[in-house]
């Protein structure tokens, strides 16, 4: 992967001037390349990674396994896109194995998610079955540990 994208994936707020120095290229080139990635849709957006467990939010997340019937034209994409458009669905993946789609669904309460499954998701044509698991605690998201690592134990000056 382009090193520029790796840097942005680590920290999207990295000043462009700093990225230029790290890569040894002019800042104008960094700006141009980022603009290109945005235009081409490779970069779809920039978000903060939150430790939501600290926020005491009124929110539950469910991981839902969905079995679906692929359609004659469009295969899994048609039904997957249809499901993905619900704002409750935060992430959706096509999977190999015992089920077809894996969804991350958010709601304010358990009941709200349950309603979404029973009233929106299950009745969709092509949805054969669902299996819903509620998330209890987050240890790591997007490669970031949610609890603090120990501080630097190295001596302050070493050979």
């Amino acid at each position: 992967m382009d090193e520029l994208l790796k840097i942005l994936q680590c920290n999207a707020l990295e000043p462009r001037e700093h990225i230029a120095r790290m890569l040894g290229i002019p800042a104008a080139e960094v700006n141009q390349r980022i603009a290109d990635y945005e235009k081409r849709g490779v970069i779809r957006g920039y978000q903060a990674i939150l430790n939501e467990d600290q926020l005491d939010l009124e929110k539950v997340t469910a991981v839902i396994e969905v079995k679906v019937t692929p359609q004659r034209e469009g295969g899994f994409d048609t039904i997957a896109n249809r499901i993905s458009r619900f704002p409750e669905v935060r992430s959706a993946y096509l999977m190999s194995g015992a089920y077809d789609l894996l969804l991350f669904v958010e709601g304010r309460t358990l009941r709200e998610v349950a309603n979404f499954v029973s009233e929106r998701l299950s009745p969709l044509e092509g949805v054969l079955s669902t299996s819903t698991h509620f998330m209890l605690k987050t240890y790591k998201r997007f490669g970031v540990l949610m609890h603090q690592e120990g501080s630097d134990e190295r001596l302050s000056v070493t050979p």
């Binding site: 840097i7 000056v157 050979p159």
Partner: protein, 391 residues
């Protein structure tokens, strides 16, 4: 008097007369201060890869807590033989040409003790790692420093060695990529040194602890050059490339007779390297490319950032090509390296190491390690610019 006896006069004179490391001296000052950004740390800021740590715990559970062979686990020596052949281009027999040691430092000590008779001279290049001179002296050798200079990228040339070699010279010590300068040697550079070593019938000890960490061109080991293996001792370890400093694990690869002699000293002093560290090393060798590549990429970014920042503020610095050190010149400010480092520490709370800790010819330079987070490096550069603006 309270009846206590001064032992100072009874100490071995060699040990008594060798000063403490200049690094240690500086550490004592830094450690009295709070919230210092340190560019003075000669070890990776990365954690040891998790699979290595996890498997060390497993090894402990399984009971890998006993003495190992004096040479080290044969399984580890076999894995090292493959790794060294693949990465450094030199083949060693795991049965009798590889010795596992407590870091490269022990390996170096063993080698010098195994090779030197009192009065034998050892050529080594300065600025260099803090222990070289002392280790040669402890082994009753005579250290002969060869100065390297920024004009040619702190590389070593045949002419420099010719000027210092004598009939008593027995050993030539090399350390590239270099701590503290970040210098590396190309294959062509090394071929000239190799020819010199052959003609003068020298034993070459090459400390390649930073061998995986080069940024613009690949590392070349002198042990891989034709006709050099038989007179070369290759030293390496896990501290830098795998961020495993505390495991204290190194190894020596070389001619069987030399390894056997080193093993005798090792056997009677250390017995064997830590069994758990050896297990950790074995795990580290299962996926070296991935672990190391990620760190190298990050170091390269930091190196680029540091060098660009120095250029911005008009600080002379040769381009470091390996290890994780930059060695800028601070001579134009009219301060000694030590005074520069002390004032920078006191006024801006950033620690760099005076170049004199690495030999007298380090005067006028400071070592900046970029084995620290990019955020720390950025802040350190802001402070450095402010500091030199006042000088």
């Amino acid at each position: 008097m309270n009846g206590s006896v001064s032992l100072r006069n009874r100490l071995n004179t060699t040990v008594r007369d060798i000063p403490r490391s200049g690094i240690r001296d500086f550490f004592d000052i830094v450690s009295t201060m709070k919230e210092v950004i340190s560019l003075g740390i000669g070890e990776p800021d990365f954690d040891t890869p998790w699979h290595v740590r996890e498997s060390t715990v497993f090894a402990l559970e399984r009971g890998a807590t006993h003495y190992t062979s004096n040479f080290g686990y044969l399984e580890l020596r076999r894995a090292l033989s493959r790794y060294v052949a693949r990465t450094f281009g030199a083949e060693y027999n795991p049965e009798n040409e590889i010795l596992i040691t407590v870091g490269v430092s022990e390996a170096l000590d063993l080698a010098l003790r195994a090779l030197l008779n009192p009065g034998d001279e050892v050529l080594y290049h300065e600025p260099c790692y803090v222990s070289y001179r002392a280790t040669i002296l402890f082994a009753h050798g005579v250290p002969i420093a060869v100065e390297t200079r920024p004009e040619n990228g702190f590389r070593l040339t045949r002419a420099m060695l010719e000027a210092k070699v004598t009939p008593r010279t027995k050993v030539l010590m090399l350390n590239f990529p270099n701590n503290p300068t970040g210098a590396i040697m190309s294959r062509g550079d090394l071929e000239a040194i190799a020819a010199f070593a052959r003609e003068r019938d020298l034993v070459v000890i090459t400390d390649e602890i930073y061998g995986e960490l080069t940024y613009d061109s690949p590392h070349c080991s002198i042990a891989s050059l034709p006709g050099l293996k038989d007179r070369t001792l290759f030293l390496h370890g896990f501290s830098k490339a795998w961020a495993m400093t505390g495991f204290r694990l190194g190894y020596a690869c070389g001619p069987a007779e030399l390894i056997e002699a080193m093993m005798k000293v090792h056997q009677y002093t250390m017995l064997c390297a830590s069994s758990l560290s050896q297990k950790a090393a074995l795990e580290a060798l299962t996926r070296p490319e991935q672990d190391v590549a990620e760190m190298v990429e990050e170091y390269r970014r930091r190196r680029n950032f540091l060098v660009a920042s120095f250029a911005d503020m008009g600080l002379d610095c040769h381009r470091p090509l390996g290890a994780f050190y930059a060695f800028p010149s601070v001579a134009r400010f009219g301060l000694t390296a030590r005074d520069f480092a002390l004032r920078f520490l006191q006024e801006e709370k950033v620690a760099v190491v005076p170049g004199t800790a690495f030999g007298e010819c380090g005067e006028g330079f400071v070592r900046c390690a970029y084995a620290t987070s990019m955020d720390n490096i950025k802040e350190a550069m802001v402070r450095l610019k402010r500091f030199i603006g006042r000088l």
